[in-house]
């Protein structure tokens, strides 16, 4: 069984197709809204305000500088959850393209990830604008964001591949995913800090360890916060052990995702 010369191998040439798909996504997303691109700024801001009101003023969180602590993690969280939501339906949404062209199917989730990355970039612009106003001095530790983001992208892409494939067989996955993502939000140190988990008296040492090792997002969010707000003073002595676990998770998920994708990608046009 072979197929000569059909453009199914992923090569750099297909990156242009990715940019075209991203361009389309960005154009279409805000096509009929008056504020257009501003929603990319407004949405996270509104969420931050709501969460600050609830957790700081109503529940009386003792975290200092609550909204900034929240902001630094909330942006990458939005990126993660939105990319996963988009990713799960990326093949279904572009089913007509899949039935019409023989492009390597992986450009669909890659494009989905990339357009969410663009939104994340806009979010970071807002964050940096706030840093200028506060002011927070820009420092070298900010660069930590890049490798952390790279790990997060691997993890996210892996999950997108898995869920997009699953979604072609079970559409239930979209609904399940919605709830799972909501649960995960509270399992990550976003509206609380990792210190609060580690100093909790109700959690045994096992669960604290589990908390740090089992969720690859946890070390990433700790990292974003530390890099952007605390000048690289890692809150944990053995932070890098946990970061290594996170990298291992990300690579494992990505490999699994790619394997599943390879097996199923040519069945997509047959599934209606």
């Amino acid at each position: 069984m072979s197929q000569d010369l059909s453009p199914t191998k992923f090569s750099l040439a297909w990156l242009w197709a990715v940019t075209q798909l991203v361009r389309r996504d960005l154009k279409v997303r805000y096509k009929n809204s008056a504020l257009g691109f501003f929603w990319s700024f407004l949405n996270p801001l509104m969420q931050i305000v709501i969460l600050t009101i609830v957790f700081k003023y109503i529940m009386g969180s003792t975290i200092k500088n609550f909204s900034m602590e929240l902001f630094t993690c909330f942006l990458p969280w939005m990126f993660f959850s939105q990319a996963l939501n988009d990713g799960a339906v990326c093949v279904a949404k572009d089913f007509l393209l899949v039935r019409k062209y023989a492009f390597p199917r992986i450009i669909l989730p890659i494009a989905s990830l990339t357009s969410n990355l663009v939104h994340l970039g806009l979010g970071f612009l807002v964050l940096f604008a706030i840093f200028l106003v506060l002011p927070v001095a820009f420092n070298i530790y900010f660069l930590w964001v890049l490798p952390l983001l790279a790990i997060q992208c691997c993890l996210t892409l892996g999950l997108m591949l898995l869920f997009a494939t699953l979604h072609m067989y079970y559409e239930d996955i979209r609904f399940l995913l919605g709830s799972a993502i909501q649960l995960l939000f509270f399992l990550c140190p976003i509206v609380y800090t990792v210190d609060q988990v580690l100093t909790s008296e109700r959690l045994s040492a096992f669960w604290k360890e589990f908390y740090l090792l089992a969720n690859p997002l946890t070390p990433l969010f700790i990292g974003y916060r530390t890099a952007l707000l605390h000048g690289g003073e890692w809150p944990l002595a053995d932070y890098f052990t946990y970061l290594a676990a996170s990298i291992a998770w990300a690579l494992a998920v990505l490999c699994l995702g790619l394997m599943v994708w390879r097996r199923h990608q040519w069945r997509f046009p047959e599934l209606v």
């Binding site: 072979s2 007509l96 019409k100």
Partner: protein
């Protein structure tokens, strides 16, 4: 090795058909274990054929006989279950009308997107952009969203894109029927010119006149099997006689 533009060897294609059934709790569990209450459908069975460069072939057969499946396999969109398909050069074509155009985007944006998804570089698309617009005669509408196009207008753009890159194997699936008389004549004329330059053509159509006019050879697919392969007029006459017999029971 053969000089054939398309070489298909004992090709079979199996689909797994999913049934629409009323959901129930019991079914939920059986579905989790076995997502498809599977019905296997062999869309193509043991097809072998070879098409030379510059040859125009008409593909005929009843609805559901596997014509589109065959085209999609040649185009590389579907994978064979058994057998092999070799295409010398690039295979490109036009399937299912405007499907694949994004309704919210303009004709211009859609041309760029289609070109990119066909695997062409920005330069290759830029070089052919004006030709595409000119051929489709859609210059006045190229910057408005495709959702406001009629099906004939969308077809014009889709056809112009498909032929602009002059693939070695061109596949046309049952789409020219919605074009007006003027564009149909223009399109078939263009197909003949491409064919003279060495393009292998496979055309699916129920318009027997169009097939007789363009193709020297016809393939008759019947329930996924190649029933006849030969001179257009002979195959078509036999096919029409068969259809006639069927109508009278």
């Amino acid at each position: 090795m053969s000089e054939a533009a398309v070489e298909v060897r004992s090709l079979s294609k199996k689909f797994i058909v999913r049934h629409e059934r009323r959901p129930s709790v019991k079914r939920l569990f059986t579905r989790l274990l076995r997502p498809f209450p599977s019905n296997v459908l062999w869309a193509l069975r043991g097809i072998s054929l070879s098409i030379e460069p510059g040859q125009a072939v008409g593909l005929i057969g009843e609805n559901g006989s596997g014509k589109s499946t065959l085209l999609r396999i040649v185009a590389g969109i579907l994978r064979p279950t058994e057998g092999s398909v070799h295409v010398r050069g690039r295979a490109g074509g036009l399937f299912e009308l405007a499907a694949g155009f994004h309704p919210e985007l303009s004709g211009r944006d859609n041309i760029w997107l289609s070109g990119a998804l066909m695997g062409y570089s920005p330069r290759q698309v830029a070089e052919r952009f004006d030709t595409i617009v000119e051929f489709s005669e859609m210059a006045d509408f190229i910057d408005i969203p495709v959702k406001s196009y009629s099906s004939g207008m969308a077809l014009r753009v889709g056809f112009a894109i498909a032929v602009a890159f002059e693939p070695e194997v061109l596949l046309v699936d049952e789409v020219l029927a919605v074009a007006d008389a003027h564009f149909q004549r223009k399109a078939y004329g263009h197909l003949r010119r491409l064919q003279e330059r060495g393009t292998a053509l496979i055309i699916v159509s129920h318009e027997t006149a169009a097939i007789r006019g363009t193709c020297s050879r016809a393939l008759w697919l019947d329930h996924g099997q190649l029933r006849r392969d030969g001179d257009t007029n002979e195959v078509l006459d036999e096919y029409l006689a068969y259809a006639e017999r069927n109508n009278h029971g």
